[in-house]
Each structure stands twice: as C-alpha cells, then as structure tokens.
C-alpha cells in the first residue's frame, strides 16, 4: 500500500532520512549522477557518493531510490490559487496539495483574487492561509491599485508583508507610462515585475488564436501580434529603465525571437512559457472545447516549435504552469463566454519530461527550467541542494506510465485538456523543509 501523504499538512515534523542511490541532478552545484543525500532537521545535511562512508544518525530512515531522479524542489512561479474569493474553484490548501502531488515545493500565486492582492492586508491574509499549505507560497502583488491599470499599488507595504514580485497578471498594463514607472519603482524594493504582455485593443473580444480554425469556427481571434507588440514594449522599457522584466506565458514565435534578441543585447529580461504552449496547438480547440481556451491562446504549430527552440537554447528561462482552476460553471458553456485558463500543476512534470525524452532538453535543463531558474529569478530559497539549505526536494520517476484521469486530480477543478492522455513520468515524493508533502511510493516505509 502506498502512503498517500497529501492529507498531511506541512506542519508535520521534518524527517531524518537518507535517500540512497538517487540519480541526483543539481545543475547549480554541477552535480549529476549516483549520490546519497542525507536530510537532518529539515535541511540537507550531506550529499555524497555511495562509495563514501558517512555515519548517519541511528534513527535515520532510509529510502533506496534505485536510480530515480532526486532534484531540487520544483518551483512554479505562476499559479492562480483563487483564494480569497473563489474558494469553490481552488483554495490555497487544495491548490498547493495539487502542487505537491505535481512535485512542487513552492509556488508564486498571482494577485487576481477577489479582492485582488494589491495591499498589505490581502498579502497578510494569503500568508496566514498558507500556514496549512502543501508548498511554500510566495504571493505576487498587483502592479496597479485594483489591477485597474491606472495608479501604482503600494509596492513597499506589500513587500514588507511578503510579496516577491508584482504583476497585473490576467490583464495587461496597457498604459506604457504606468508600466515604465512600475519598473522604476519596483527597484526601490527589489521586486520583480512580471508582465502579462497583451495589447488589449488587438485582442479585445477574442477567444482563441486568430487563424484558419478561428475563422472556421466563427470565433473572434486573438492575433499573435497582440502579444509580440507588447513584449517588445516591455523589453524596450526594461532596457530604458535598466530594470528587469519577466515576461509571463510566452506563446508566440515572434515573442521568442524578440526575447532572444533582447538577451543578446544584454537587456535585463527573463521569460517563461507553460507546458500547454509546447504541447498543444490551436487544433486542440476542436469543436469548441473550452478546456483548450486560455489567454494567451494556444497558437499555431510554428509557434509551438519556436517555443520548444526557445526552451532548448535558453531564451526561455522557466516553465511555469499558469495553473488556472475553473469550475464547470465557467467552463461548461458557450465557448466565447467560457473562462480562460486550465489547471496545470499535476501535469507539468510529465509534459516537460517529454522534452527530455525527445532530446530537446537534458535532465539538468529540466531542473534549471523548473527549479533553479525560477528560484534565481524570484530570489527565493531553493533551486539547489547545497548542504545547509532547506530540504526542499522532489523525487521523480521519469519512466512510470499511467493515464491522467479526472478522478485522480487533487485540484478542486477539473479543467484540463490532458484528461485521458497517457503520461510518462511523475513526482513520487515531494519534501518541503524535510517534511513529506507527497508520496506515492508503493509500500513505502515512510511514516503516514
């Protein structure tokens, strides 16, 4: 019997445990190969080769990983946890338990809740609710008050309360002056500015990629240029202010090329994409499948190929899920009126592993995209397994095959286009600060 630990809150006590014979992948510390890793008091105590003799505590648990991957805990820097305000879709607890099951040890949650997180009060509430979470939770605050795109929100107060970045995600900051000031003002508090790049006058009323399929289905299109125009504006303002910008959910070929050129010129830019943009195209909309509706929309095959190339050559730094839970109420309706977004926390690992199997990225690239880079960009702990660092880690079986079914979803919502798909690879065990937040090892000896 596997011990399903997702019912156990993070508050459970950290273990003293020796992971034996791991295939450890830690690009920040230039390690990849067969290692043992010892966890004591919630921290990584030692990483050593199986041939080395090292005394371990008497009460130490042991788990022989038999070559399974052991990686720094995965970090999803773009999720929507819906709390406060839409708890019927997701809560901080349900969303982070889904995250733990997906192998994540930390998530950054976007501020488009109800009310939006544009203040110290809401940030504090999120942090209080996150005490029972299955991962570390890093709130993102709004760029503008009320996410209305008019005046800057109180970056300083939100920073004090614990936000790590600012974004009006879900909505673009249409006003270029305001976006420029956000980049400038964020510098005072060492906050990252995350851009939802979309030119709203070009995307208005659109509900899928502008193309042959939108024409055939009679759906108003969102052209790729609505994204790339704004990506260029954001890059130009980052260069002008000298302040870093992070481009969220990159979906088009032109955006990738713009970011590639900006990086070549040394502009301070980082960027993420989501698994659906390198896995699916607009074809997934089929006959009005609202689980293939998101913003930015699924694009054409050439865009998908460009995203893959951007991941391979480092133009894109991060894979983030843009986990966006919605209930049937928002999804089971007319396509143009259905809500944007899909859940993604529980499918990100297998979908990204497919890039490894196809030789597009190597295992250390997988770790960089899903752990090391998001930690570096958000300036949060994690991303590496140095002795002394918190024992945030993920154990992955890259070969296990299964079908992703609705019944097994831990998120409160089921809006995924991947339901029914065969998957290869998953997180077997997730550990945050030495405590087990997810464990699906059969017959595991770990306490339940």
């Amino acid at each position: 019997m596997g011990i399903l630990q997702h019912d156990i809150a993070l508050a459970m006590k950290p273990l003293t445990i020796l992971f034996e014979n791991a295939h450890l992948i830690d690009p920040r510390n230039n390690r990849e190969g067969r290692f043992h890793l010892l966890v004591v008091d919630g921290k990584v105590k030692a990483v050593f080769e199986p041939s080395e003799a090292l005394s371990v505590p008497d009460d130490c648990l042991r788990l022989d990983l038999k070559g399974k991957w052991l990686v720094p805990g995965l970090i999803d820097m773009h999720v929507h946890l819906r709390e406060p305000g839409a708890e019927y879709k997701e809560t901080i607890v349900s969303g982070t338990r889904a995250a733990a099951a997906g192998g994540f040890t930390a998530v950054a949650c976007m501020p488009n809740t109800q009310p939006v997180n544009d203040s110290r009060a809401v940030t504090t509430l999120i942090n209080a609710l996150a005490k029972d979470a299955g991962t570390r939770v890093y709130p993102v605050g709004c760029i503008s008050k009320g996410a209305e795109g008019k005046e800057l929100a109180e970056f300083g107060e939100m920073r004090q309360a614990g936000v790590v970045a600012v974004s009006d995600d879900g909505l673009p900051v249409a006003d270029s002056q305001l976006f420029k000031r956000a980049l400038e003002y964020a510098g005072n508090y060492d906050l990252l500015v995350i851009s939802h790049a979309e030119e709203p006058s070009l995307s208005r009323g659109g509900c899928m990629n502008d193309g042959v399929i939108s024409t055939r289905l009679g759906l108003r299109g969102i052209p790729a240029v609505a994204e790339s125009i704004m990506v260029y504006r954001d890059l130009a303002l980052a260069a002008y202010t000298g302040r870093p910008v992070h481009i969220a959910h990159v979906s088009t070929s032109e955006s990738v090329e713009l970011i590639r050129r900006a990086k070549a010129q040394g502009w301070p830019v980082t960027a993420e994409t989501a698994p659906h943009y390198f896995t699916l195209t607009e074809d997934a909309v089929g006959q009005y499948n609202s689980n293939a509706k998101m913003n930015p929309p699924l694009r054409a095959e050439e865009d998908r190929q460009a995203i893959i190339k951007g991941l391979a050559d480092g133009t894109l730094d991060v894979i983030a899920t843009d986990h966006a839970p919605h209930s049937r109420l928002e999804k089971d309706r007319e396509f143009d009126l259905a809500a944007n977004g899909i859940i993604g926390l529980e499918t990100s690992v297998p979908l990204t592993l497919s890039l490894v199997r196809e030789g597009i990225i190597d295992p250390s690239g997988f770790v960089r995209l899903m752990s090391t880079n998001p930690a570096r960009i958000l300036k949060v702990p994690g991303g590496g397994l140095e002795p002394g660092s918190p024992a945030d880690l993920t154990i992955i079986d890259p070969d296990v095959q299964y079908v992703f079914t609705a019944e097994k979803i831990l998120s409160k919502s089921r809006n995924s286009p991947f339901i029914g798909m065969e998957m290869t690879g998953r997180a077997m065990l997730t550990m945050v600060g030495g405590a087990v937040t997810w464990n699906c090892f059969e017959g595991s000896e770990l306490p339940g």
Partner: protein, 310 residues
Amino acid sequence: MGIEHTFRHKHILGLENLTEDDISLVIQTAESFREISNRSIKKVPTLRGRTVINLFFEPSTRTKLSFEIAAKRLSADTFSISKSTSSATKGETLVDTALNLEAMKPDIIIIRHSSSGAAQLLAKHLDASIINAGDGTHEHPSQGLLDLMTVKEKKGTIAGLTVAIIGDIAHSRVAHSDIIGFTKMGATVRVSGPATMMPRYLEQLGAQVCLSPREAVKGADVIMALRIQQERQLDPLIPSLREYAAFFGITEDILKLAKPDVIIMHPGPINRGVEMDPALADGSHSVILDQVTNGVAVRMALLYLLAGGD
C-alpha cells in the same frame, strides 16, 4: 432524378458536417415538399406526434417563422421560446435551460444564439436532435441550404457557377455557410467587401478574396449581397453606411459586369439603399422572395430527414 443516399445525421449543426450527397438529398427532399405549400390545405401528417421547440436567443422574424411554418405543415407540435420569455433573463445557463427543455421530451430543438458553437454545446448535452438556426458568426446551415436550392432552381445546376458574395463577411454566418456549401457543390466563390470585414484566412476555406467588388462580380452567375451587421461589430469597421453604399453597394452599373442572366440574392433583412440599389431588390434579377419560399421547403426537409423515420 433520384439519389440513392441515406441521411445519417442526428443534428444539423453546419454545412461543414454535410457531404455533397447529403446536401443533394436535402435539396431533392425540399423540392418534393415545395408543392405542399401551394395546396389549399397546406398540411401533411408526416411528423404528427413529434415535438419541435424553437429556442431563439436572438431576434429573428424570417427564420423563426419559417421553421414554425415548416414544422406545422408537417403536423409537428411546435413551441417557440425567445430570449425575453426564457429563463436566460433570470440567469439560467444555456446548458441548464436546454436540459430542462430536454426533460419535456422534445424530438427536435432548433436553436439560434449569439455565441458560435452554441448548437454544438446543446448537441453535446442533449439526446434531442439539434438544428442550428444560426450561431454567432459560425454557420446558418438552413439558410445556406435554401440558397443552394434557389440557385439550383434558377440555374439548373450549382457546379461550375461563379458566386460573388459582397459585404460583411467576417460577421456573417450566412456567408460562412454559403462559402462552404457552394464550394462543396463545385461552384467558385468570390468574396468582396471592406477589408476590415474580411477574415484573414478566407482563402484557406476555399473562397477567392477580391479587394474590388467589381472584380468579384465580373462574369458572376450569382450575386449575394449581405447585410452590414452592426450589432455584431465591437466597434465601427467602416466610416459610414453612405461610403459603403457608394463603393460596395450593388448597382445597375456593377450588375453589367456580371453574366446577363445573373441572379441577385440577399439573406435578409435588407437595408434598402445600403447593400443594393433599392430598385434591384424588386427587379427582374432578384430572387430574394424565392429564397424565402424555398426556406420553408428546406426546413421541412431538414425536420423530415431528422425526425421522419420510424
């Protein structure tokens, strides 16, 4: 001529789903029904005991009445619900409204809705047969079929003809169904209108896009003028109706470029003086009212093909 072909569809969602043989069968069936409307007692018992619901979420005079008359002439029991009388105004979702109607065991639900794909959504959730009477800017299959029937009636054939569609293509579900239907039946379809009203990917759907309406009309057998659908535009796509009428309206002058026996069609309602010269709508080339007459026959055929079995 008879066609040996069985109609295998449960729903009529769009011409995209119908084969050339399906379309021929619908037209042939409609031709056989047309005579019923000319009798003094305009009723046959074919669909006696069947229940047909008209679920119209958008204003409609012609299409709704046409379906109602078609169903009644086949002796079906018909009921019509429009947006103002439906629970949609009380906040009920489309799927819930439809499930409640389904519980009353209708055989056919005819839906018109402002969202593309609304008919597909119903077909996914209900056991009843669904007929799409116009969904957003997607399709209007019964209109496409009656246009095909009218052209076949007037020209004897559809294959090899040149059809020019002029107007607001982007917002026209009629244009969409016509492009699919006419190209499927072997005609050449040219479209023209203000470029702001042309979807970018029309050529991949089989239509030839002409910037000049004169070029589109040249040598055409059929001219179809479309209404400017201001209610579907998020913001104005042309500066004025006056300029539209001057540069894209069908006039005697433009008509000279077409074949001498060209027919003029319009799905209605017409804005006289905008889409065409007021006199042309009533002139010898116009078959606009024949379209309306054939509309009843085509809708009788669709109801019969979906529910006339057993």
